[in-house]
């Protein structure tokens, strides 16, 4: 669930990054902190982004149960995100995207946008036709914190 209060400026994303066998990740369970919100969700909620077959970025997670004795589970603070409405996404981001965006929800998309490696997380609680959903957060744009300044400059989003 992407929270409803728009966060226009970037914020650091906290969570866990996990590398394990694909099978183990398919059945992994993540727990969020009861008292703190994952950046992409409300308190205790975890947003699990499968960024590779063997890798997960679990935003908001503080604990992971992964059935792989060799799994690598690490605190991840290296990403920042921008919550954008559909209108902001269309005007600032979409015009720089050379590839097809996913139409199903929820969906994770990853690729170069304006020459930057970015991730897009489209949550599942919105109308797929984003032209009709201008008032609410529509997408979470995720970048490595080291590239945040470039995202600001190239996409015109607030720092």
């Amino acid at each position: 669930m992407i929270r409803r209060v728009p966060v226009r400026a970037s914020e650091r994303l906290y969570g866990l990054r996990v590398v394990a066998t694909p099978e183990a990740l398919d059945h992994a369970r993540f727990a969020g902190s009861a008292g703190s919100a994952g950046s992409a969700g409300s308190a205790g909620e975890v947003t699990v982004l499968r960024i590779a077959s063997d890798e997960v970025l679990a935003l908001g997670a503080v604990d992971a149960d992964v059935a792989d004795p060799h799994a690598i589970v690490e605190l991840e603070t290296g990403f920042v995100g921008w919550h954008l409405t559909a209108a902001e996404f269309v005007s600032n981001v979409e015009r720089h995207i050379e590839w097809l965006l996913p139409t199903h929800r929820p969906a994770l998309a990853q690729g170069l946008i304006a020459g930057l490696p970015l991730k897009l997380w489209f949550d599942d609680d919105h109308d797929h036709d984003h032209d009709h959903d201008h008032d609410h957060d529509y997408v979470l744009v995720i970048a490595s914190s080291g590239l945040a300044h470039e995202v600001v400059e190239r996409l015109g989003v607030p720092a």
């Binding site: 690490e74 020459g115 930057l116």
Partner: protein, 722 residues
């Protein structure tokens, strides 16, 4: 209604293109040459509203427009506006790119294009028709396929499953003596001009096969001379031909199964007669004599003739000359000559259009970027990152490391965790160093070699447990190293998990003889021994402390979650205030490591540098059964090798890095790194000798330099172990 041509008013009628209006005024948009008025040639191109090489036949006349002819000789002058910010990425470019994804893109809205589009729509496909008359001027087709289009408002990238090129065929231009006179038009152009009620005066129509030459006075055609000797006076010569030229430039740009050509663009027409005189390529002013000259010099294939004579490399990209060039090569060689490859762009783009939505490679900032700026750092780009070059006084930074304590931001280092049952096997194969005997809590310096035994990176291997390691790589080599490690482990099918931590972890190097004291002050009573590492809280921040030394002094790298970098840095700076703690930048770091003789991969090494060439055979264990590069090193071990990196010293200031190294009058190599070392009291260098026998005395900057053992400083390495 009027516009200005070379500052003179030209009347036009509603619906006129610039070229039609110019012809109506009895003039020529350039200085001569046959006009097609269909966008196929460059003979009507001019500077329109400040944009040179604009096809005036495709540009509607507008009131107040300023049109300038290109110079008769040479090209239009380049307009170079001073850049406002030469290092900014072109995010503010005024031309945007829009994108569309369709099933089928049809280029051309003539009969064949319309038929192709109708057929595709009938089959239920999403079709987009791209035609310049509708404002969609296709400038290139790329693999994908992607069609790049210029519209009046923006650039458009059309991603299509299929591209159908239906661009038709063009009239063939005449090539003969006098073909650059004014008053010559193709049959199609004559139609357009008549349709626009342009008075052509006395006209003569001549077929290409019957055309001998054009006669003229003061650049204007006055008569057509036929092959049978007849001469017919005229004001306008209209050239016809039974054959045509397929407009297949876009099709020749890409070899993609998703791209097809239909209609006249796909036809194979007969070639015109081989030209014997005149200008073949009006854009580049290439004559038949020029073609003959390059042919006689041995350029006997069409692609070679094109390159040597520049025939077909101008504005129209072969639109005029292609049939004649093919006819020339076909006759000379006796074999049919295929058209040359087409390359985008088929239309002249402005820099802004070409640069639309093109971005420079980004340079990352570490989490300490603002801390560096607060401390007055001069930032520079290095290895894909913005890094502090110095903080205003690099020698002060140097002495802080040598005599006190200093912080360095090494967050840019490549960092990786590898884990799994096969991890030792994987690392044994990746590195030329023995891995299995590294005990948990210990670390080892390693080289990374490619299959040819050439050095591609270096770093540390830190063992955390039996089946888990932390690897580090150089800042500039981190991305490649990650791909390298992943590719090989996947290739070998080994059971290893890999997590790149480069962007996730910050790293601060606490270095200097007082580094241990500083760590004690921030909660690390007992710091790791040399080449040991462990996890511990430092000032409340969970850190992986690695003890090593690149500076030659005691050094502790504190790897930590990047969110805590600023907090950790500030705490360390505060705790070290009475120790005169001073951060150091790259300039000081390069000097410090040079005193220790440590190489920087990519700066001191070359693409084919082997460990032997930099005297680092000690880091290669040839008794290991296998590792990447072992076969090549074994094969070349006994071959003569003329290259070596040497330590050098000389009196006086340090030479410029890159300075040539002489033996007598002969350049034998160059200086890779140099620094005027206050501790050594001389200029110290790492430099290459690439011709054997190597000598002990060379000349650099006109001064005598001596080969000297490295390290230049603390050769026993005692200070790093304090």
């Amino acid at each position: 209604m009027r516009f200005a041509l070379d500052d003179q008013p030209v009347d036009y009628l509603d619906g006129d293109s610039i070229a039609v209006a110019v012809v109506r005024a009895g003039q020529h948009p350039q200085h001569g040459g046959a006009l097609c008025l269909a966008g196929d040639c460059g003979n009507c191109s001019a500077d329109v509203a400040g944009v040179p090489f604009t096809r005036t036949c495709l540009t509607p006349a507008r009131p107040g427009l300023r049109v300038r002819r290109h110079p008769a000789v040479g090209g239009p002058p380049l307009r170079l506006d001073p850049p406002k910010n030469p290092v900014a990425s072109p995010a503010q470019t005024s031309v945007q790119v829009h994108r569309r994804h369709v099933d089928i893109a049809v280029i051309g809205a003539g009969r064949s294009g319309t038929a192709a589009a109708a057929s595709a729509r009938a089959a239920g496909h999403d079709v987009m028709v791209l035609d310049s008359e509708s404002g969609f001027e296709v400038v290139g087709v790329y693999p994908g396929p992607i069609v790049v289009v210029r519209t009046p408002e923006h650039m458009l990238h059309v991603h299509a499953h299929e591209v159908v090129i239906a661009t038709g065929a063009a009239d063939v231009h005449p090539v003969c003596e006098g073909n650059m006179l004014r008053g010559i038009v193709t049959w199609g152009a004559a139609d357009i001009l008549r349709e626009r009620s342009v008075d052509l005066g006395r006209t003569v129509t001549v077929d290409l096969t019957e055309l001998a030459r054009f006669d003229g006075i003061d650049g204007q055609v006055t008569a057509v001379v036929f092959t049978d000797g007849r001469s017919t006076p005229c004001d306008t010569a209209i050239v016809t031909s039974a054959t045509r030229a397929p407009r297949d430039l876009l099709a020749r740009m890409v070899s993609d199964p998703g791209v097809s050509v239909v209609g006249p663009a796909a036809e194979r027409y007969d070639l015109p007669p081989c030209p014997t005189d005149g200008i073949v390529c009006p854009c580049s002013k290439v004559t038949v004599g020029d073609l003959q000259m390059v042919w006689d010099k041995g350029f006997t294939h069409l692609e070679l003739v094109k390159r040597a004579a520049l025939c077909g490399t101008g504005t129209c990209q072969g639109g005029v000359c292609m049939p004649h060039l093919r006819a020339f090569v076909t006759e000379k060689s006796g074999a049919p000559a295929a058209p040359f490859t087409g390359r985008p762009a088929s239309r002249q783009l402005t820099i802004a259009e070409a640069a639309a939505d093109v971005f420079l490679d980004p340079f990352r900032r570490t989490a300490l970027h603002d801390e560096h700026l607060k401390l007055g750092a001069q930032m520079d780009r290095f290895g894909g990152w913005w890094r502090p070059w110095n903080y205003g006084d690099f020698m002060r930074e140097y002495w802080a490391v040598r005599e006190g304590v200093s912080l360095g931001d090494v967050s840019t280092l490549g960092k990786m965790i590898v884990s799994g049952p096969d991890v030792v096997e994987a690392l044994e194969r990746l590195y030329p160093t023995t891995i299995a005997d590294i005990r948990p809590g210990r670390s080892r310096y390693v080289l990374l070699l490619n299959e040819r035994g050439h050095l591609i990176d270096d770093g540390m291997v830190c063992r955390e447990s039996d089946d888990r390691f932390v690897l580090t790589f150089t800042s500039g080599g981190a991305s490649f190293a990650e791909a390298w490690v992943r590719d090989w482990i996947e290739t070998w099918g080994l059971n290893v998990r890999i997590m790149d931590r480069t962007i996730s972890l910050g790293a601060i190097n606490v270095t200097g003889p007082l580094a241990g004291e500083l760590l004690r002050r921030v909660g690390v009573p007992e710091s790791p021994k040399f080449l040991q590492h462990r996890h511990a809280d430092v000032a409340g921040v969970a850190c992986h402390i690695m003890r090593l030394s690149f500076t030659g002094e005691a050094s502790f790298e504190l790897h930590h979650p990047v969110a805590h970098s600023a907090e950790l840095w500030q705490t360390l700076m505060l705790a070290g205030r009475d120790l005169n703690i001073t951060p150091h930048g790259l300039q000081a770091l390069f000097a410090l490591r040079l005193e220790k003789g440590h190489v920087i991969v990519g700066m001191d090494t070359e693409l084919d540098t082997t460990p032997r060439r930099i005297n680092m055979d000690w880091a290669v264990k040839m008794d290991k059964p296998d590792f990447i590069g072992r076969t090549a090193l074994a094969r070349t071990a006994d071959l003569p090798d003329h290259r070596r990196l040497f330590g050098l010293t000389m009196d006086g200031p340090a030479p410029t890095e890159g300075a040539p190294i002489y033996v007598g009058d002969r350049i034998v190599g160059h200086v890779a790194s140099a620094f005027m070392s206050p501790t050594v009291g001389k200029a110290i260098m790492l430099g290459w000798q690439k011709h054997s026998p190597w000598v002990d005395t060379v000349t650099v900057d006109g001064r005598t330099a001596h080969v000297t053992d490295t390290p230049f400083y603390d050769p026993q390495g005692a200070r790093a172990r304090i």
